[in-house]
């Protein structure tokens, strides 16, 4: 009996291998309207490129390459295991795997790890000042990036260990180094943003060329051998071509015709969805995103300095309509609160609806009008700032229409998507209300509740002041700090705290949350083994094209 099982198992393995062999090869063709900046993984901060970086680079740890919520788990990558925090959460000790080589043939050494952490400061990583300065020596590096060293922060041992010391405990540290920013690069990588020049990595694919006007191309890394299928599987396709310059409508047509496999742009043209969903139902995949579409209201200038005005907007917004604009009821879930579903600490909560409870059902126009009356803001001029990408202009126009119905005098300004996000952050621009979208960096509630709504995230006069609503409440901040502290020792307790914080932020109505969007991927007929990670979306080392 046993032998039969063994034979069967062996057969299965052979078949699987054959299966893998069958699907191995081909070129995955991706397309987008335009490129997205530098291909330096320690610099670029876009979902589009992260999706590619994760098949080319590895950190010490990684998010698991799998579908569903398990994709939020941290697994060992270049390190042999995920270390438990020591020293009350201030020290992490990693053991580096042996015999791993970069795509240029050099072996990965602890020195590379140290250099990579220092390089985060040298290249002015966007989060150098908000995440990585927590590494001992980080603050000094911030002031003098060019000469950054972290002798007490990142320490390479003789036995292939890396010890990282933090200034204060940080429950999200592993998340922060599992992102592409934490990629381990050759120590010899120049200490500045490499822009369009590929940097060798350790993943199954290596970037071979990049031209922001044309294409981003990855091919198999000849030095790659599978060392951790969870963190870095082998990949089926031989090459990934990501071409630029084709916009929505045309990209859809091209995918229908099999010229491309996937459109990387965030939203597809809404009017084509019906046709796509009926003609090509098997080529469509829908997955929830850990993201909010929301309208931040500036609590520091009229009319939304008035709580009643903000409440009026919240009650008046028909979130079903916004989902309709986004593409239909299956593409988004109406929401009132800050945290998206699926987050740790998420508890459904919606006060701004006809029958307040866990779910939004319908707008309460009567309440909206009465709050409006109380606010005394009728007749005030309001400008909605939205960007020109995808459905955003339509959402902006809709929001303007709602404001007009409430009694404001609203117009909508459409700005280029490339400047709108910076524009709405700068307090000098006196933006009253805008439409924007926030994706999670990693699955921790603080990524929304701390990053977007605490006093420390307000930088007057700067284009980088991500607390767009300008909401600042010391008592709220204290609660956030407490939750962060508790997350290290007692995650469950922290999650209850986050739920309360979420509720407080929602009640303060600094935002009008619209809905939690879902990702719709329209893929070519030949694309198989679609695997969607909550962190990085479609995993390119999981799909096959033949």
């Amino acid at each position: 009996m046993k032998t039969i099982w063994l034979i069967a198992a062996a057969l299965l393995a052979v078949m699987q291998a054959a299966h893998a062999q069958n699907h191995r090869g081909g070129t995955l063709k991706l397309v987008a309207a335009s490129s997205d900046g530098s291909i330096d993984p320690q610099v670029n901060y876009t979902d589009q490129y992260w999706q590619l970086f994760i098949v080319a680079y590895d950190g010490l740890v990684a998010f698991r390459k799998s579908a569903g919520s398990s994709s939020n788990d941290i697994v060992p990558d270049l390190a042999t295991s995920v270390p438990a925090p020591q020293d009350g959460g201030k020290t992490y000790v990693f053991k580096l795997r042996q015999n791993i080589k970069f795509s240029n043939g050099q072996p990965v050494t602890p020195a590379d790890v140290v250099a990579s952490f220092e390089r985060l400061f040298k290249v002015n990583n966007p989060n150098a000042g908000s995440w990585y300065n927590n590494i001992v020596g980080g603050d000094k590096c911030l002031t003098a990036p060019a000469t950054c060293t972290l002798p007490d922060g990142v320490v390479a041992g003789d036995d292939g260990t890396i010890t990282i010391h933090l200034v204060k405990p940080n429950p999200e540290f592993l998340y922060q180094i599992a992102l592409p920013f934490g990629a381990i690069l050759p120590a010899a990588t120049p200490p500045h943003d490499m822009g369009t020049i590929p940097i060798p990595g350790t993943g199954p694919y290596a970037i071979t060329s990049y031209d922001p006007q044309k294409a981003f191309i990855l091919q198999r890394n000849p030095y790659f051998k599978v060392f951790s299928p969870e963190a870095q599987p082998d990949g089926y396709v031989n090459e990934i071509d990501f071409e630029f310059g084709v916009t929505g409508e045309n990209a859809v047509t091209a995918i229908e015709n099999g010229q491309y496999d996937l459109d990387m742009d965030p939203s597809l043209p809404a009017d084509r969805l019906a046709e796509m969903s009926t003609r090509f139902p098997r080529q469509i995949y829908i997955n929830p995103l850990l993201a909010d579409y929301y309208a931040p209201m500036n609590v520091n200038i009229p009319p939304f300095s008035n709580l009643n005005a903000r409440l009026a907007v919240n009650y008046a917004l028909n979130r079903r309509d916004t989902v309709q604009i986004y593409g239909g009821k299956n593409l988004g879930v109406p929401a009132c609160q800050i945290l998206p579903p699926g987050f740790p600490g998420y508890q459904p909560y919606c006060p701004y609806t006809k029958n307040p409870g866990p779910k939004w059902t319908a707008p309460d126009l009567a309440k909206a009008q009465s709050y409006m009356q109380k606010s005394g803001m009728a007749g005030q001029k309001v400008t909605v700032i939205t960007d020109d990408e995808g459905v955003d202009p339509a959402l902006g126009t809709y929001l303007g229409s709602v404001l007009n119905q409430l009694g404001f005098v609203a117009t909508t300004h459409v700005l280029s998507a490339n400047i709108q996000f910076n524009y709405i952050q700068n307090t000098n621009n006196k933006v009253q209300i805008s439409i924007t979208l926030w994706y999670d960096d990693y699955p921790a509630p603080s990524d929304f509740l701390n990053v977007l709504l605490t006093c420390g995230q307000i930088h007057p006069g700067s284009d980088n002041s991500v607390n767009i609503a300008g909401y600042c409440n010391k008592q709220y901040d204290a609660k956030v700090q407490a939750a962060l502290r508790d997350a290290i020792t007692d995650p469950a307790k922290a999650n209850t705290e986050w739920a309360a914080i979420d509720k407080q932020a929602t009640d303060a109505a600094a935002w009008a949350t619209l809905f939690n969007p879902k990702q719709l991927d329209f893929v070519s007929a030949r694309l198989g083994n679609y695997t969607f990670s909550e962190q990085f979306h479609l995993l390119f080392d999981k799909v096959w094209v033949q």
């Binding site: 911030l142 006007q213 310059g245 084709v246």
Partner: protein, 325 residues
Amino acid sequence: MIFLVLLRRLAEMVFVLFSISVLVFLIFFATPGADPAARIAGRGASPATLAAVRHAFGLDQPLPVQYGLMMKHLFITQDLTSFVNPGQLVIPAVLQAVPVTLSLVFGAAVIWLIFAVAIGVTAAALRGSVIDRSLMFLAMAGVSMPVFWLGEVANLITQARFHNTVLFSWVPALGYVPLTQNPLLWFKSLVIPWTVLAVTYIGLYSRVLRANLVEALTEDYIRTARAKGLSERQVIFRHALRMSLITLVSMFGLDFGALVGGGALLIEVVCALPGVGMLTYQALQNLDLPFIMATVMYGAIFIVAANTVVDMLYLLIDPRARGAR
């Protein structure tokens, strides 16, 4: 003589370029939301990071110094890089876009000249007839269409509505295929953009040509030409057209220069052609100052150069102008 004229033109060009670059520079720094440091640094960057980036890119220098640096990188060391795609060199990107725009404009120019001359001459030869009137009405309609709209409608027809009919099934997906890569596909993918771009100019040129021809045909020298025993066709082509072409050539020079210089922006955007116009458009969308600067400079050079070439051409094709100099 010609040398002096050229020298003066060159001085003028430098002056114009300088003024335009200063203008662009000032407009850029007056635009809110355009802080290059914030965009280079990425979302959520802390003030310290921002300051470091600002310093690394020289954005903390006074504006005149920044201007000087940018001009140095653009013209002298030619290693100006993008603010939005760090490391991307501006000049190669522009050079790469030029063949696309040239392909587009050359092809369209061939079409529009052929059709404009055919229509203009036909209308002038049949002046007053129904054919003349309908041709001129069509020409007027051509001039009066928003070109981006025409492009959209052409896409609708050839890419979607009638894509599966015999008429348009050969039309490839939008985009550009280099001539060197696949000449046939290059041609096929450009036919629709060529036509769309040409329509306006066919309308404009055929109307101008007809008016000129009709005027020329009343001239005494045309009667002389007829009296010499020339056929009507010879009269029109050798004498009337030759004179009318003088106006047309100068128009053509300026239009061609403007289009190659980035004026075909809308059509490039609508037809997804990665030419200079598209580059300009994206640079403006991204508010990527180095790119804006480069494309504006490039465009201005072409426009000024076109003016100069037209002046020179005038000397060549109109002997009367030679005496005047």
